[in-house]
Amino acid sequence: MEPKEVFDELKTILVTRLKFDPRRAVDLTPETTLPKGIESSIGLDSLDFIELSIAIEERFGIAMDESADLAPHFASFDTLSRFIASRTAGA
């Protein structure tokens, strides 16, 4: 999958699983940061990240290694899309 396709899927997950308003999803760009506490981020907290990880596992068929530090991949939609795209590339 290409990062752009992944990004579109992530926007869908944001609405269907993380309960964001669909109108908000339209405004998002790959540069939008994810974690709460960062200015202009979409404001996800630890609970959101768990739900997001589970949704990613289910939607993209990849397994998240819980022992690894995945935080850098979850910094923005761009980093996350690339991470997921690279994991699905070999599949």
Binding site: R17, L18, K19, F20, D21, R24, G43, L47, D48, I50, E51, I54, A55, E58
Partner: protein, 267 residues
């Protein structure tokens, strides 16, 4: 001041806002409907995207209370405000959905974000977060008798100096679990009226007497006649009705649940 006083009460029910929205006779006005719903408050902000309707109703009731009593959010914020939350069944909707999702094995009900909201403490937790309440709390589960217990707890916290003000909040929703309530119809009256109510207690000159009366007080009966079955919200609606009558000091409220009636009297 070694006693307490009721400063204000806010009432939101399926009939509308305030006790003036209550019909003269809830059963007649219900016209056969089993549940009178309250809907979902339109609260601004992405902050509430995950929260259940019950959480939003709690926030709305506290918000209405602060406006009605002209108390600023700054005043209640912090560790000097106690929050006592009482409900007979507001946890039902989230719990019901959780069980149903498990049976269906669908991912439609977001698991991670949904599960915490099955806990009654998360409902009051969302209120604490919204208003910055970091003082003592109480979370009592039960119908109207539990509300009397909660009001009494609030007076104890005030009188012992453990807080400077206390919010006693009750929320009830029935729509999502209407079928379950229908199965236990001997336990609850009709119509079931969704409500979110909040009382503000402060230090005052009145002492309270907490006891176990046999019969309902006139206010308890009036609240039930006018509002319908509101479980834990009943005594606070009664308090509001009494204040509407002009009762400025001595007031008593009673509440019954599962064969036990409790009463709290300011005198």
């Amino acid at each position: 001041m070694t006693g307490t006083a009721v400063e204000a009460v806010s009432v939101l029910t399926g009939w509308g806002k305030g006790v003036r929205a209550l019909p003269p006779d809830a059963a007649r006005s219900a016209a056969g409907r089993a549940v009178i719903p309250l809907g979902r408050p339109a609260l601004e902000g992405e902050r509430f995207r995950r929260a259940t309707r019950e959480c939003l109703l709690g926030v709305a009731a506290v918000d209405a209370l602060l406006r009605a009593s002209e108390t600023s959010r700054e005043v209640v914020k912090g560790s000097s405000t106690a929050l006592i939350y009482v409900t007979g069944g507001a946890y039902g909707a989230a719990n019901h959905a959780w069980v149903v999702a498990d049976t269906a094995r669908r991912g439609a009900v977001a698991g991670t974000l949904h599960f915490p909201y099955t806990a009654p403490s998360v409902m009051s937790g969302e209120v604490a977060i919204e208003f910055g309440l970091t003082g003592p709390y109480g979370i009592l589960i039960g119908g109207a008798a539990a509300t009397i217990d909660g009001l009494w707890q609030a007076t104890r916290l005030l009188e012992s100096g453990r807080c400077e003000r206390a919010l006693v909040l009750a929320v009830e929703t029935f729509e999502d679990c209407a079928e379950l309530y229908a199965r236990g119809r001997w336990l609850v009256g009709r119509p079931l009226v969704e409500a979110a109510v909040c009382a503000l207690l402060v230090p005052g000159d009145l002492r309270t007497r907490y006891d176990a009366p046999r019969a309902p007080s006139a206010l308890e009966t009036r609240a039930r006649t006018r509002a319908g079955e509101t479980l834990a919200c009943g005594p606070l609606i009664a308090l509001a009705l009494g204040r509407e009558d002009g009762a400025t000091g001595s007031i008593g409220v009673t509440g019954e649940w599962r064969g036990r009636r409790a009463g709290l009297y300011w005198h």
